[in-house]
């Protein structure tokens, strides 16, 4: 079966221990979570979790059924490219010398990134976009001396009129 990235999103009760129950399901089924995003929704008692797992298509059925067994999980959906908006944000800290500085500033404009902080020897760049856009920028910045990187993982919302 073909392995690819699968996005699973769910709404859960915003309570202690719930995330641990959710991630436990992935682990017990033998799947690794590639990225995970958790935050409160419009109603503070409900959180939204968005996860990416590299898996075959069996995974979706299995994980959905097991997650749905959890009392604190309100609903689970798979988000498919083309039927959902997907974005990721990354912060990258880069060590700079004078030459890098000019090149980075120039390319930031090209890539639609933002410089969050700039010192003579260090800068933090924000990149937001689709997975591909973000990967392109990372690849471009790779030759520079990347110090640290923090990624949100993919966030996704289904287009309203699409049927799952």
């Amino acid at each position: 079966m073909r392995m690819r990235e699968r996005i699973i999103a769910m709404r859960v009760n915003n309570k202690p221990g719930v995330l641990s129950r959710v991630t436990g399901v992935f682990g017990r089924l033998g799947y690794n979570i590639e990225s995970l995003c958790v935050a409160e929704t419009i109603s503070p008692e409900i959180s939204r979790i968005t996860s990416i797992t590299n898996a075959d298509s069996d995974f979706i059925e299995k994980v959905k059924k097991q997650l749905n067994r959890l009392v604190d999980v309100l609903d689970v959906t798979e988000l498919v490219p083309g039927q959902s908006a997907q974005r990721e944000m990354i912060l990258i800290g880069i060590d700079l010398d004078q030459k890098d500085r000019t090149e980075i500033v120039r390319s930031i404009g090209m890539f639609d990134c933002k410089i969050i902080s700039m010192r003579s020897d260090y800068c933090i760049v924000q990149i937001a976009g689709s997975r591909e856009e973000v990967e392109t920028v990372i690849n471009f910045l790779r030759p520079f001396s990347i110090d640290k990187i923090a990624r949100t993982g993919v966030l996704a919302l289904r287009y309203k009129d699409s049927v799952s």
Binding site: P16, G17, S20, R21, G24, R28, E61, K62, K65, Q66, N68, R69, L70, V71, D72
Partner: protein
């Protein structure tokens, strides 16, 4: 009026109909025990918390009510774990209460602190940490609803000592408007169509079989299922957990399937062209090699738990539904059929395998169990431990009622039998209660003889003693080149004297010459232990070797 958290807890338990708690106190559960004497709830003090969980499990399986057990924090809670896992695997509704260190000490590695919620997460349906007495009432209500709804299972409530001791103003009448977050199976719009489809398959099939799992008795659908079987003239098999769901002395009952199952059941399932599965999850013990399970059959599966559908075997048609509800709608759609050809073929197979075969397969142990059943009162509930004793019992005891046979089929927990039998007796005092155990499992919870003796629970205890771990010995014999490593228990312990030391009458017989012992046991007042000496070379046949299919058995008539 102000009440303590513990008082609110006990009232809430009463409201859920709790009459009995099996438990063991400790410092952090003391506020609850302190209030128990004012409550009509009876507390049975076991000798090890594992036994409390098994006893509550046995109680629940026999009565159909939710079982309740309790331990203190730390080791008290961790000792419950095996019992919780056993209940989880066999879908027994339990509410497990654990004491916990005070809320201010939580997470500080305090004395007798463990993260029991973390530890039990994969083996509970849900769990709660109660951090304020105002939450107690709603939590209990939710816990019971979750434990018994859908596919039942254990729910744990962790109760910090200070929360139980704290006072809180809670009016009696105000019945907390609690929303219970129970997951109802989504009403399928296609349900009607799916049922019609299942009925069509059944009506068109030439060689149908119904496969009964433990879910049928859990949804109290046994009578309805018997109705369907009679109407459609449909032969049936069961899983080990489904034994007793439908009692039929007629030819429809083919036995139970799987590794240690009946040859007839395994062969007929293999030949069938349609299997209607109800409340069964196709465990590896039932199917053996999955790809060779029922290769000719279309499989329909009805289960209340969506995660059980197509988990192991892809169902061709499935329906997420309570079995009882499904049957009331399905039976009218199923046509009356004679199925003479199919039933004749089954009878031929039965004759070929030998009609008295099931009687012979378990050797002298099987004959002994049948003699015991004759001597025990009608309606006696049999409990098994795990190992050869379990297979001998489920094959030889004629289970006539849905809750007449209690066995830890899913987890296979050695040590289950004795404490579970205590729970059964407490819940069903007017029924005969007998537990069949081996010497291995018996020693695992032998301390409960003290509980049985203290409360004078008239449980009959059979200990098959072959001085070995018999089933493991059989596996070593057949599949490990007869290298008998680490399985000899020996015969240095005089079990009869030990039992008497606990204050329990006891006797010893050999399995071939057991008449006098059976009579003594069955006529004795109060608890009685009968040690039954068995040759260690007495095994269970047929058996499906690992990695083989259900018809590829050792010791079978064919193949």
């Amino acid at each position: 009026m102000e009440k303590t958290g513990a008082e609110i807890l006990l009232q809430a338990l009463r409201k859920e109909g709790v009459e009995v708690i099996f438990g063991y106190p400790g410092a952090n559960s003391l506020p609850i025990h302190d209030s128990l004497d004012e409550s009509p709830i009876r507390h049975y003090l076991v000798r090890h918390e594992q036994a409390a969980a098994h006893a509550a499990d046995g109680y629940a399986r026999a009565t159909g009510k939710v079982g309740v057990c309790m331990g203190t924090s730390g080791p008290g809670a961790t000792n419950l774990v095996t019992g919780i896992a056993t209940a989880y695997m066999d879908s027994t509704p339990l509410v497990v209460l654990t004491g916990q260190v005070t809320t201010e000490l939580l997470g500080s590695d305090a004395f007798q602190e463990t993260d029991i919620i973390g530890i039990t997460m994969p083996i509970t349906k849900h769990s709660y940490l109660v951090s304020d007495p105002s939450e107690v009432k709603a939590t209990v209500k939710q816990a019971f609803e979750i434990a018994r709804s859908g596919r039942p299972g254990p729910v744990l409530i962790d109760l910090p000592r200070n929360v139980m001791a704290a006072k809180f103003e809670q009016s009696d009448d105000e019945d907390a408007a609690v929303t219970v977050p129970v997951k109802q199976p989504v009403e399928s719009k296609k349900e009607k169509k799916q049922l019609q489809q299942i009925a069509n398959y059944m009506n068109m099939s030439e060689r149908p079989v119904i496969l009964i799992g433990g879910g049928v008795k859990l949804s109290q659908a046994c009578e309805e299922l018997a109705g369907l079987i009679e109407k459609g003239n449909i032969p049936f098999v069961s899983t080990m957990m489904g034994i007793g769901s439908v009692y039929a002395s007629n030819g429809f009952n083919l036995g139970f399937i799987g590794t240690h199952g009946n040859e007839l059941a395994n062969r007929i399932v293999h030949d069938s062209d349609f299997i209607l599965t109800m409340g069964a999850r196709f465990s590896d013990r039932s199917t053996s090699i999955v790809k060779e399970f029922a290769p000719l059959a279309t499989i329909a599966q009805i289960d209340i738990d969506p995660s059980s559908i197509s988990k192991v075997i892809k169902a061709d048609i499935s329906l997420v539904c309570d079995i009882h509800e499904a049957l009331t709608k399905l039976t009218p759609l199923v046509e009356r059929k004679e199925r003479r050809e199919w039933l004749n073929r089954i009878e031929k197979e039965r004759n070929f395998l030998g009609r008295d075969r099931p009687m012979k397969e378990c050797g002298p142990a099987g004959a002994f169990i049948r003699d015991v059943q004759m001597a025990m009162p009608e309606g006696t509930i049999a409990i098994t431990d795990v190992g050869l004793n379990q297979i001998w019992t489920v094959r030889s005891w004629e289970t006539k009622t849905p809750r007449g046979m209690i066995t830890p089929g899913g987890l296979g927990t050695m040590g289950f039998g004795l404490p579970a039998a205590m729970g059964v007796k407490v819940g069903m005092p007017d029924h005969g209660v007998i537990v069949f155990s081996g010497d291995g499992g018996f020693f695992m919870n032998i301390q409960e003889l003290a509980t049985i003796s203290y409360y004078n629970l008239p449980v009959k205890i059979v200990v098959f003693n072959n001085g070995h771990l018999g089933m493991i010995r059989q596996i070593q014999d057949l599949f490990y080149g007869a290298r008998f490593n680490d399985i000899e228990l020996g015969n240095k312990v005089d079990i009869v004297t030990v039992a008497r030391g606990f204050g329990i009458q006891a006797d010893r017989v050999s399995v071939e010459d057991s008449g006098s012992g059976i009579e003594k046991m069955c006529t004795a007042d109060g608890p009685f232990l009968l040690e039954v000496l068995v040759d260690p070379d007495t095994y269970v046949f047929p058996i499906i070797p690992p990695g083989r299919s259900n018809i590829d058995m050792i010791g079978g008539r064919q193949g």
